[in-house]
């Protein structure tokens, strides 16, 4: 039982359901408490200890149904007419049956070496042949599961391993014995019997292959995706293929969410002047009621206020899509973000982002409205001053995303200086590596002095690091 449960939990983890060790222990308790007779009850019960959010419940349901699906039982037509009735009975009680099959398997493990496992090859041989002859699907299924356990099917990782594992399972189930039996029959002149058995062997092979494929899917459902995410996160934004866009978007959104969840903690600051009488009395009881340790009321301060300015001109076209995507996602999770986009003229995109539900549409529209012009940081900053300067206060963090290539026009460092004086922090994220800063028309040297931080931000990992730091310090 424990092993089946272990495999199931592994499958859940592969399907993005986070299961901690303590939850796994709980699951073990739940199984022993609820039992395996009633499939629906087991499903209900396990879902409550293992899946702890709406998304996870969904994945849990799918994984459970796939993992405990013994649908071969259902679909395969009765092989032997004589046994058709028995088969029907089994099919009727299919739901319970599958659970029970597992249970039996588990008990077998607990009691000692299972009969089919390390018993003599003779035993196996007749078992398999007899089972095939009888068409006893439930028992076959159990033998199959047992064999899969022996060859460690749960370690399968690549689809190229399918053949190998299928073969090994067949062998563990007693393939050689089966083939011997076929030969014996041929030799004895029992052609019909040999053919029948061959047919059954073929059937079994298909069944095993199905099983292996299902397991592969179960255990590796997300492995490929996870790897891809890893790679994408580290790739330079400008090198990412268009076909990965959708994927990337998901990744960005995930990242933004995680960052917010991590840092959404609100902070307390003292509001001087208001005495918290109740707590003061309480704190001074030990001093005989003399108030010499005063306690002041505290007031909560809201989450950080963020203003983000994004360059969408041609020089950063490759990256700006992602930056906008990030901006959009950020706005979904932090309530107080004002976002601006510019190439020559700067415009606010906050409301538009809020209104537009479809992120791709939002980005395309933004690029169309504000993009395409030749960059002029001077103009853009002047616009920013007009639009947003009044709203900048000591809690505001200003993020500027851009390469600071201003086409040799005055970048208006004086405005940025003013912004810097008012805002809590000014952060410049430049997609170019530091070596290229100040080359050509890049104006980093005139703008960077007014930034608390000016750093290269070329990959999602960079972006994540920057924002994480930003949220940690901003309050």
């Amino acid at each position: 039982m424990t092993e089946v449960l272990g495999d199931f939990i592994r499958a859940l983890r592969a399907a993005d359901v986070r299961v901690s060790t303590s939850e796994a222990i709980d699951a073990g308790q739940v199984v022993s408490m609820v039992g395996l007779d009633d499939r629906q009850t087991l499903r209900d019960a396990l879902s409550q200890v293992l899946a702890k959010s709406e998304d996870e419940k969904q994945s849990f349901g799918e994984t459970f149904d796939r993992f405990f699906a013994f649908d071969q039982l259902k679909h395969r037509p009765a092989a032997n007419d004589a046994e058709a009735e028995a088969e029907d009975d089994a099919a009727e009680d299919d739901e319970g049956e599958s659970g029970e099959a597992n249970q039996k398997e588990g008990e077998g493990e607990g009691d000692g070496p299972p009969s089919g496992g390390s018993g003599g090859s003779d035993g196996e041989r007749y078992d398999l042949v007899a089972m095939l002859e009888r068409g006893d699907q439930a028992q076959l299924q159990m033998a199959l599961a047992e064999a899969a356990r022996q060859v460690r099917l749960n370690e399968i990782r690549l689809f190229t391993q399918r053949g190998m594992y299928s073969r090994r399972i067949m062998e563990a189930m007693g393939l050689y014995a089966l083939e011997d039996e076929v030969m014996d029959r041929e030799r004895a002149g029992n052609e019909a019997g040999a053919d029948a058995l061959r047919g059954k062997r073929e059937e079994l092979r298909l069944q095993v292959r199905d099983y292996v494929e299902k397991q592969l899917e179960l255990f590796t459902a997300n492995a490929g995706r996870q790897m891809r995410e890893e790679v994408l996160a580290q790739m330079r934004l400008s090198n990412i293929d268009y076909s990965d866009m959708k994927f990337m978007r998901e990744l960005v959104r995930k990242m933004a969410k995680r960052l917010i969840a991590l840092h959404s903690r609100r902070r307390k600051v003292d509001r001087r002047g208001v005495l918290d009488m109740r707590r003061t009395i309480r704190a001074n009881v030990e001093f005989d009621g003399l108030f010499f340790h005063t306690i002041w009321k505290t007031k909560k301060v809201d989450r950080p206020k963020v203003m983000a300015i994004c360059d969408v001109s041609g020089s950063v076209a490759q990256v700006s899509g992602f930056l906008l995507m990030f901006l959009y996602s950020l706005q979904e999770v932090i309530p107080r973000v004002r976002s601006f986009a510019f190439s020559a003229e700067l415009g606010e995109t906050t409301d538009f982002f809020k209104r537009e539900k479809n992120i791709e549409e939002a980005i395309r529209e933004t690029l169309q409205r504000h993009g395409g012009g030749s960059t002029d940081y001077g103009f853009a900053l002047a616009d920013f001053e007009r639009l947003a300067m009044d709203d900048i206060d000591h809690r505001t963090t200003v993020i500027i995303l851009g390469d600071a290539r201003s086409n040799y026009s005055n970048p208006r460092g004086d405005i940025l200086k003013k912004v810097h004086a008012r805002a809590r922090r000014v952060i410049w994220l430049n997609p170019e590596p530091k070596g290229l800063w100040n080359s050509g028309d890049s104006e980093m040297k005139r703008l960077a002095p007014y930034c608390d931080k000016a750093i290269t931000c070329a990959s999602l990992k960079d972006l994540e690091r920057v924002v994480s730091e930003l949220l940690r310090h901003a309050s």
């Binding site: 308790q29 199984v31 022993s32 408490m33 039992g35 007779d37 019960a45 200890v49 702890k52 609100r266």
Partner: protein
């Protein structure tokens, strides 16, 4: 995990879950097996149960029904921003403590009479009972009350998502070990382990640490069958035809894109309203007049108004 234990558990589980479901039904709380299973597990595993779901599906009601079923008192803690341990857990009765120090001061002379030198005075003072920080001066708040309740209690921590992160962290000790630490006293353990419910409307994500310690139950909107049974139990005056129609109508509304979808509690209110109006059958005019019972935003009402005719026809067909 021995096999025997497993087998004995197997025998009892399903009937017991059914018994819980029946018990709820007898008390007017209609639920499906999934919910009953979670109550069964929460009680057996002695684990807190975190209930999530849209507002108005009966999360709080479930805790109340459980308290009634188990015959234990319900102790409720409503969470809000700024809730701290002084309000949730315990508070010193500082007024009494002040009086106590006064009394002590008066007695000090008697106590110290005949003491030789400072050393002896101090050792005498040490021998004196230290009641200043003792349970006598402790004012229990809901959490502590639940731990102290003889015979156990049902503790409902309502809308945990409204509280701060710090409070959530502070709950961890209580939820995993059913004990709390009072710095001046040490650890206070539960006399009887209470059944704990936490509810959340998901206004913010609950921390992983908390989730890990709880069972997790998600209650969605009920399906039409369950909702009909709920209405039947809660508003028995509604005639069957009308009940079918109104449930079908509400189910139809839930498929629209609304700010706030009508929950079970709204369906119940609506059913009561219709009974008061002596309605025997839904019609578009009636629905329009009573739509504000069902929908709580003007935007939603405006949106639905256009659809009322179609939805009513559909509901009438279903009924």
């Amino acid at each position: 995990m021995s096999e025997e234990k497993g087998v004995s558990g197997v025998r009892g589980a399903v009937p017991e879950i059914e018994a819980i479901q029946k018990g709820f039904e007898g008390r007017g709380y209609i639920c499906n097996a999934h919910i009953a299973t979670s109550i069964f597990l929460a009680e057996r595993l002695q684990k807190p149960l975190l209930i999530e779901g849209p507002p108005g599906v009966g999360k709080t009601e479930l805790a109340k029904a459980t308290a009634e079923l188990l015959g234990k008192p319900l102790i409720r803690l409503q969470c809000y921003e700024g809730l701290d341990e002084a309000k949730a857990l315990y508070e010193w009765k500082y007024g009494k403590q002040l009086l106590y120090t006064q009394v002590l001061k008066e007695k000090l002379g008697d106590l110290m009479s005949g003491a030789q030198g400072l050393k002896e005075s101090i050792s005498r003072l040490h021998d004196f009972d230290d009641t200043f920080f003792s349970e006598e001066f402790l004012e229990p708040r809901p959490l502590l009350k639940a731990l102290w309740q003889p015979g156990g209690a049902v503790l409902l921590i309502d809308e945990i998502d409204k509280s701060d992160d710090e409070f959530e962290a502070f709950l961890l000790e209580l939820l995993s070990d059913y004990q709390i630490s009072v710095p001046e006293l040490g650890t206070i353990k539960a006399r009887t382990v209470p059944v704990v419910f936490l509810t959340s409307n998901n206004t913010r994500e609950i921390g992983d640490a908390l989730k890990r310690r709880c069972l997790h139950l998600y209650i969605p909107f009920p399906d039409s069958d369950l909702e009909q049974r709920i209405i039947k139990s809660r508003v028995p005056e509604v005639e069957e035809a009308l009940r079918r129609q109104l449930v079908a109508f509400v189910q139809g509304i839930r498929e629209l894109d609304l700010k706030k979808q009508p929950a079970v509690s709204e369906t119940i209110d609506w059913a009561r309203t219709l009974v008061l109006l002596h309605a025997r059958e839904l019609d578009a005019e009636l629905v329009r007049q009573t739509l504000n019972v069902l929908l709580k935003f003007q935007d939603d009402i405006d949106n639905v108004e256009g659809e009322v005719n179609a939805l009513t026809t559909k509901a009438l067909q279903a009924g």
